[in-house]
């Protein structure tokens, strides 16, 4: 070994971009923390006060899981999720095709469709529900419509992304065989995306089931109505029962759905 000092290659400087992102993150965090009045001591203080919600948890009413009204509300939640998903899934396939180069050779309608989809996607599910409650009235129909639009946005986006990555070979083969555009889509494109599409549909159903539980908070049907009812009366023990019931259903559905999805893809 020699004592000669070794010359390292110049150390790569962190990129300006990376520094910029970090500065942005720190500044943004400070500003937003002030805006929401964030304080750890405040949280600790709040936690030390008597807590009706936690008391409710200790005295949870398991019976609420099986009461007639809860059962009805759950069935409604499930129905909204099923129908909202079905509608959204069916309509999303042509929309996804029309919003990609594979399915739609014209640029302008493609861009318009994608922009509309971005707008739809930027509206949260509860806001959709609120809008429909205002326009159509209280009840399951508003919840169903909200879930339909939300499914539409999620499914179209996921499917369009998948379509962007498909194998173009079969499309060339269909064209070379003299197929019409719709025949080409049906035989060369749809079979390629169908497994992923079915998997997205199940995933979308999981999302909708979770969402449909809260739509009732704005009057759009399902167990959300019951949650709101208990909350307003401060009956946290019953509310917890409902929440646990909800957990149970979501877990079972997810467990089944994940297994099916694994087999599909």
């Amino acid at each position: 070994m020699s004592d000669e000092r070794l010359q390292l290659p110049p150390k790569p400087k962190p990129s300006l971009f990376a520094i910029g992102v970090w500065v942005l993150v720190v500044v943004f965090t400070v500003i937003t923390a002030r805006r929401v009045g964030f304080s750890f001591s405040g949280i600790i203080e709040d936690l030390q006060r008597p807590n009706p919600v936690l008391d409710g948890l200790w005295n949870i009413r398991w019976g609420e899981m099986f009461s007639e009204r809860s059962r009805k509300a759950f069935v409604e939640t499930l129905q909204m999720a099923v129908l909202g998903t079905t509608g959204g899934v069916i309509v999303s396939l042509p929309l996804a095709l029309w919003s990609t180069e594979v399915g739609n050779p014209y640029v302008v309608p493609r861009v318009i469709l994608r922009s509309i989809n971005n707008v739809i996607r930027s509206i949260p599910d509860l806001l959709w529900a609120g809008l429909f409650v205002l326009g159509v009235g209280i009840g399951a129909l508003s919840g169903l419509l909200a879930l339909f639009f939300f499914s539409l946005a999620v499914m179209t986006k996921l499917t369009a992304d998948t379509l962007d990555g498909i194998d173009m070979g079969p499309i060339e083969a269909a064209d070379a065989a003299g197929a019409s555009h719709s025949q080409m889509l049906r035989t060369a494109v749809v079979p390629q995306i169908l497994p992923a599409f079915s998997s997205y549909a199940l995933y979308d159903f999981e999302l909708n089931l979770r969402a449909s539980a809260v739509l009732g908070l704005v009057g759009a049907g399902g167990i959300g109505n019951r949650l709101d009812f208990f909350r307003n009366r401060g009956q946290w023990d019953k509310l917890w029962g409902l929440v646990f019931m909800f957990f149970l259903v979501v877990f079972i559905v997810e467990w089944v759905s994940v297994r099916i999805r694994r087999r599909l893809v």
């Binding site: 079969p170 060339e172 003299g178 035989t187």
Partner: protein, 258 residues
Amino acid sequence: MIRFEQANVIYDGGVTAMKDLDLEIGDGEFVVIVGLSGAGKSTLIRAINGLVPLTSGQLDVNGHDVPNLSRKERRALRSEVGMIFQGFNLVDRTSVINNVLMGRLHQVPTWRTLIGRYPDRDIQIAARALQRVEILDRAYVRASNLSGGQRQRVGIARALAQEPKIILADEPVASLDPPTSHVVMKYLQQISRDLGITTIVNLHFLDLATAYADRIIGLRSGELVFDGPGSACDAQVFEDIYGRSLTADDTMEKQAAL
């Protein structure tokens, strides 16, 4: 009958892939096109079924005036011309028979395609095509579960299901090993002879070309530099086509031995 007259193809980037081509291919001929990659072999083949439009010149395929076809007429032309691809271009996620039925699309009403219920007659045609390449027993297997050679045979069956007058094969064996390549070439030759289908094959390997071709066409930089029977094709001719003497890369047997 296929007739090119003063045909030119210039791509958007300015690359000339076909230059002043005059060429006539008669019914039932088995023609092999050779040349370096980039010599315009794919362009020639794809010009015939209108996948690549001519920049100028005339092209007549079985009475279709290819440069001036409406969209509908172009589909009619394509339905008469089967095509086989280097990468097979099968839909991997669906069954062999569904892939072959793609060859029937032009004849089947769209609504039937959409619901996936093909008429029995068309299923029979597809089955016969599969039988011809001896892969009928795999009809309901997913295409992704086949070997490379089997997949190319499905590709041939798909072209056959069109009941075509012309078959175009773009480097059909480039993704296959030598024994499988010979199997595929034999099927192509046999089909051409049995059914009188005009067959045009792009090949990279010279030994395969001379072994199977009735007629060899040599292309270099988009120009026709050789046109003659396979027997007339000696080392000198290949040097003209390739612009250099032959190397092991140019013949399959030698390359396989490497």
